[in-house]
Amino acid sequence: MTTDVPSAAGRGTVRRLAGTLHRRPRLRLTLLLTAPLLWLAVLYLGSLAVLFVSAFWTTNSFTSQVVKVWSTDNFHELFTTPVFRQVILRSVGVALAVTVLCAVIAFPVAFYTARVARPGWRPLLVVAVLTPLWASYLVKVYAWRLILSQGGLADWMLAPFGLSGPGYGLPATVLTLTYLWLPYMILPIHTALEQLPASLLDASADLGARAGRTFRSVVLPMVLPSVAAGSVFTFSLSLGDYITVQIVGGKTQLIGNLVYSNIELNLPMAAALGTVPVAVIVLYLLAIRRTGALNSL
């Protein structure tokens, strides 16, 4: 019970207002949506729209001024310049490699946390998978910068085998990105494996299937949508990243770096380059949607 007693007149107004709102759901909806939609649809989508329109503008190469004349030059340049093509392919390749590595590493971990570990331990193990997600992104990349530095942990561990660490470069970038997004792959696979009915596995065994056959014919088809769901994160987060590659990538350039390096001098070109990861991610989502994975996100 509230203790303060509002004046009778004030209470009447509040009551009338509440009644009006209750009777008019459209008005209620308008009040609910106005502020958020002004923010997201006008401010955010508006900025995005202007950015993508500006991809069709050009820059005066002497003054660096944006020339607002419609042209498809930027996109033409994008697909004909070998450097751009190379970097785009490399970025997509890195995103795919990270996704595959994540899936390969995540599977045994998720299988263990969901079905092999003692049931009492499982929630704790899930927390153990989740914890690194709260640790700072930059700190995790920095950790790999330390590991891969000259004379660092990687070199020290590989020294007895007469090897040295990969140093900074493309492999280091793939490794670090895999590390960053691994939990996003483990969690959906864990959930899928946890929900896998034991009766199906028993039925498979009763019908004479060995563990390997059960895995291929029962477990894998049922877990695949979750792998796809996880891959949405690993793929799109890797594709847009340009910080990690600056820290551990040496001289490696990915699409994000190209966007970044064009912002100051040629914003229209940067915008055109920026449409590439967006388009690739949208295509990837459309492909994934066919597996039904997006419903489980």
Partner: protein, 271 residues
Amino acid sequence: MHLSRTARIALRIGAGLGFTMIYVPLLLVLVNSLNPDRSASWPPPGLTAHWWSVAAHNSGARQALWVSVKAGLGATAIALALGTLIAFAVARHRFFGRGTVSFIVVLPIALPGIVTGIALNSAFGTVLAPLGVGLGLFTVIVGHATFCIVVVFNNVVARLRRTARSYEEAAMDLGATSFRAFADVTFPLVRSALLAGGLLAFALSFDEIVVTTFTAGPGVETLPVWIFGNMTRPQQAPVVNVVAAVLVLLSVVPIYLAQRLSADTAASSRV
């Protein structure tokens, strides 16, 4: 599934390696903050707490931490307000374009940060600059709030979908106005979802670097931006090491709070 002994052992080893890979880098960051040497060569020549006291007095890092906290609180407040409004609209109303609204909410976090960053940067440049408002903490908060809305929305909408409307209706049948029903019935039901969403939003904002780079004015440096700027300077390496270690240790706080929250959620769902 009846796994053979070998398969079980193989899975244990695989999982063990996986967890090792997850935790060794974080442990290394902690150990390295005690490294007396400026290089990161392994093993460290000794251990010292000297750099911790140096870092505690580093004005750059302290200032950046303060900016990060302010940006996080501002963005979280806006995200809580807007995310909750959208969640109520989507969960409690049917209207044309409802699916589109949920899609627009996710977009800022689904698109690469650099795209959101330059879009907001050029929008601020064209809209705010003529008004005499430059980039600064305010624009950072606006940028962060944009991608934080989704986590609040997700938490609240999930909660609203799981709670029956009959509670509110019962309150109103008993004579409560819709405001009163909201304050006494609906709000307590979604409170822990708001806390969880707020926690996630703050963590997201506190950790963000890409959008920040494009929305921060000169002199506005959040902690991630400070770390990124000082990471490659050998002179600053020991202080960066300590700041990194502090951030690793701090990541336990939200885990603890999330556990408390889910216990709270379990308790309130028993009502």
